[in-house]
Subunit: 205 residues, 2 copies
């Protein structure tokens, strides 16, 4: 695809993502996206055959960015510390740093937006979201397994439950932050999740 | 309103709530609700002037139940223990017991469903949701203030941040539970939140 095509495609997707997070996918019409993006119908349909193609492309791009983000921060954390618990705490710390800089509430997670309209979304797309949640769970569980070889948790937990608590915190904090219009809420809640890991494994010694 | 009217009104609302949590409010049409509820147009419009009246009524009923639930469980916890930390742990424990019994994922929180379509919902309704989140925060902060007079947190936190972590856990766990189709995820995540409070205040002594 020529460079101009990619720019236009991304522009359409940016407008659509904003609209989906604001009025939901069922409230987003191709006509409105076309008007807001300032493109012709021909251009739109050159890039996306249907609204559902667009919905799938939005999740594909979001999942790619999410996965890239995960690997990027984990690589940084692994460079900054040898100890797996410290790596996890740094990993969360990098997300805290990022979300601390938000001046408006994070507009929301596409996974959550779609899950609250799953009846209007294809099974393939919902499976992709489920796959991404399993990606987070599996990657973090793998790291927590290494943590458990060095530290004994203070209370009975499984890797999966602790791993899920980070994603739970992200998803929940995005909802609260949107409703209460408090941009700092996301970083504050990630701090609670990091506190939990520190206390659970008594990282303080 | 006669008894039959209340039954019909609740039936319409049950159908609508299910639809809103499945396809979003923008995907829910009055016509579809009428067909699914098996009522006439006249009956529907006798109870609700517009779809937005229905949307507001759904939140009002949900908020009432939520608030009632909160007070009911807190009253039980306060009867079962004198210590404010134990009261909080029992309070969360009652929600753990309740969510442990789920055989299907919790269909979702109306606050979250609405917040992901807030652009299509009246400001009054969104303010009501914000008010409910402040209710949770204020009530729990009040209890945490009493906890802080007896226990010193192991890490620097504010009442608000710790209070918000319970609501964050509920909201996040409902999203993960829906996406991953795991009914037990909600109770497991509430256990992590209770673990956090136990460790933060070293409830074990």
């Amino acid at each position: 695809m020529p460079r101009d095509g990619t720019i236009t495609r991304n522009k359409i997707m940016d407008i659509a993502r904003q609209m989906v997070l604001n009025v939901g996918l069922t409230g987003t019409s191709v006509d409105k996206v076309i008007v807001e993006a300032g493109v012709t119908k021909g251009t739109f349909f050159y890039h996306f055959k249907t609204k559902h193609d667009l919905a799938a492309a939005l999740i594909e791009r979001y999942a790619d960015q999410d996965q890239h983000h995960f690997h990027d921060y984990m690589a940084k954390a692994e460079q900054l510390a040898r100890d797996p618990l410290q790596q996890l705490l740094i990993f969360i710390g990098l997300f805290i740093e990022m979300t601390e800089q938000l001046e408006d509430p994070f507009p929301g997670c596409l996974y959550a937006a779609y899950c609250y309209q799953s009846g209007a979304i294809s099974k393939d797309v919902m499976s992709r979201i489920e796959e991404m949640m399993h990606f987070w769970r599996d990657q973090l569980s793998h790291k927590l397994k290494a943590v458990n070889q060095l530290y004994t948790p203070q209370l009975p937990v499984t890797h999966t439950q602790v791993a899920d608590h980070l994603l739970t915190t992200f998803e929940g904090a995005f909802v609260l932050s949107k409703v209460m219009n408090e941009p700092k809420l996301a970083s504050e809640q990630l701090i609670q999740c990091r506190n939990y890991l520190e206390l659970l494994y008594r990282a303080d010694g």
